[in-house]
């Protein structure tokens, strides 16, 4: 283990302790902000499995995020709570099936075409919910009561309680991180990274690469569905924007900004983008200029700066040298 590696592990432990202690010292606003950051971190990690590890740049990842949210909205009775276990299982299974169907088609393309076709499928889903009366059409629909978690009559936690909800999301974000770390170190993980580096040679070594890419696409889509489900529970609301290209682009930016091909990078990207959005919006009016109102201009400048100064993303701040993979990537 190198010193840098040890530093990253130490920083991760400190970050985890701080996150666990957050509700003890932070106001409700910040606990909810960090709930959202952790949800977006799950979303960004799921996308990085495709972009950074398998080399498949998806520009339609919001499709799975939003679809899981819509499934929760559709199975929730109007003024009653849905079962957490049942609705979560439906949302995850639904996004997995959607990823299987879309993946089976889009993975026949590669490169720029892959970017375009993933975008096209996500936009088809967007307009399906936007232009029909399903779940309130373009207005979306509210979920008045959050899902209920009961085990044989006992309620281990209450999702209406923002602190409880924060811990549920934190636990799931950590679980996602550990799951993906484990998968990436497995035989399957070796295959998908091999596909990114040299898919042609993988085929000539005897790997049917399509089915590995498809499995990866389904895993990624399912985890994006988990994030979408959690976001829907938090905001109590779904609308077609959850499926749109704007969100697909934002999460792709988080991955690139934080550092592709790592798991901590995308989480850092989610943190940076959501915190800066609020920080920039809070900037004061100077003379006739309302700086906060033009926060997107500042965000754009920040992104340009990071891309120029840190080609490996924010995670590059923690790494002495560029990663081996980056140096030799053709």
């Amino acid at each position: 283990m190198t010193n840098r590696h040890a530093l990253i592990v130490a920083l991760s432990v400190v970050a985890l302790v701080l996150l666990a202690a957050l509700p003890a010292f932070a106001e409700k606003f910040y606990v909810q902000l960090f709930t959202k950051i952790l949800i977006m971190a799950i979303f960004a990690m799921s996308l990085d499995l495709l972009v950074g590890y398998t080399g498949l740049v998806s520009f339609g990842h919001a499709a799975f995020f939003g679809f899981a949210g819509y499934l929760l909205a559709l199975v929730t009775p109007q003024y009653q709570a849905a079962s957490l276990w049942l609705s979560l299982a439906i949302a995850l299974a639904g996004s997995a099936l959607l990823a299987l169907a879309i993946g089976a088609l889009v993975l026949r393309t590669s490169g720029v075409y892959f970017i375009m076709v993933t975008l096209a499928f996500a936009q088809m889903l967007y307009f399906l919910f936007h232009d029909t009366k399903i779940a309130g059409g373009s207005d979306g629909v509210y979920i008045y009561v959050r899902p209920l978690a009961t085990i044989a009559g006992w309620r281990p936690f209450d999702l209406e309680n923002f602190v409880h909800y924060y811990y549920v999301v934190l636990a799931l974000a950590v679980a996602t991180f550990l799951l993906l770390s484990r998968v990436l170190a497995s035989l399957f993980g070796g295959v998908i990274v091999g596909i990114r580096v040299n898919e042609h040679r993988m085929r000539s070594l005897g790997y049917p690469t399509f089915r590995y890419k498809l499995a990866c696409f389904v895993l990624s889509g399912t985890l994006a569905g988990l994030a979408g489900y959690l976001a829907t529970v938090q905001f109590g609301f779904v609308n077609p924007d959850m499926l749109g290209w704007h969100l697909s682009g934002s999460v792709l930016l988080m991955v690139i900004l934080g550092g592709m091909g790592t798991l901590i990078g995308p989480a850092l990207g989610a943190l940076a983008m959501l915190v800066l959005e609020i920080a920039f919006q809070a900037l004061p009016v100077v003379g006739a200029v309302n700086i906060g109102k033009h926060w997107q201009l500042l965000m754009g400048g920040f992104i340009v700066l990071v891309v120029l100064a840190l080609p490996n993303g924010l995670i590059g701040l923690l790494e002495a040298r560029p990663r081996r993979e980056e140096v030799f990537r053709e």
Binding site: V191, H200, R201, G206, Y207
Partner: protein, 248 residues
Amino acid sequence: MNEAVLVTEGLTRYFGGLAAVDGVSIACERGRVHAIIGPNGAGKSTLVNMLSGDLVPSSGRVTLRGADITGVAAHRISRLGIGRSYQKTNIFLPFTAFENCRLAAQSRLASSMRFFRPARAYRTLAEAAERALAAAGLDARGDMPAAALSHGEQRQLEIAMTLATEPEVLLLDEPLAGMGADESARMVELLRGLRASHAILLVEHDMDAVFSLADRLTVMVNGAVLAGGSAEEIRANPAVQEAYLGEA
């Protein structure tokens, strides 16, 4: 007479109107090296690409141990026991030499849809990778990133990876390309050692290596077979001298 393992009959591939390979019939036998020689553009690599499944033939047949494998996909061909190396080094540059070979050995598992157990916990894969590295003379280089190896070592790794898939037939596309004299000599020794246990199809421009290794030669010109025979027969063939050896 050894048994022919890999046989082609009238194998042809068109690119547009051009026949890059035109009616080639050859056979590879276990324990023998069958060399394909010919000037650039003769269709040698196209022939290898059809045998490895990288290209689908326009017509003709390929059989492996009597079974028709014409047009079968590359990953299936590999699993049937035909391994190939590439003219242009085609390895996983960011991975170590060991990881390259382990990934190659891993391809022999029925499936790599194994999501939880760490890859390094598979002892048999590690041993297979070490064996392949040793067979190719790279045992001291296992922990080096492939990108940091010398050109000759990368060529050896290319062979090591192919060996890690435990093929019965080896398709070697210019294994000596770009090598210095010492590296070439070592590679020739390596290939000589592989002959007994494999059927080898060798495409190579280095005539010294070809004549020292090959049991049988096929000379290709403009996609077609000009002549075939033992090294002595080819050397003595006036048409070959005129068309190919004379130029070289």
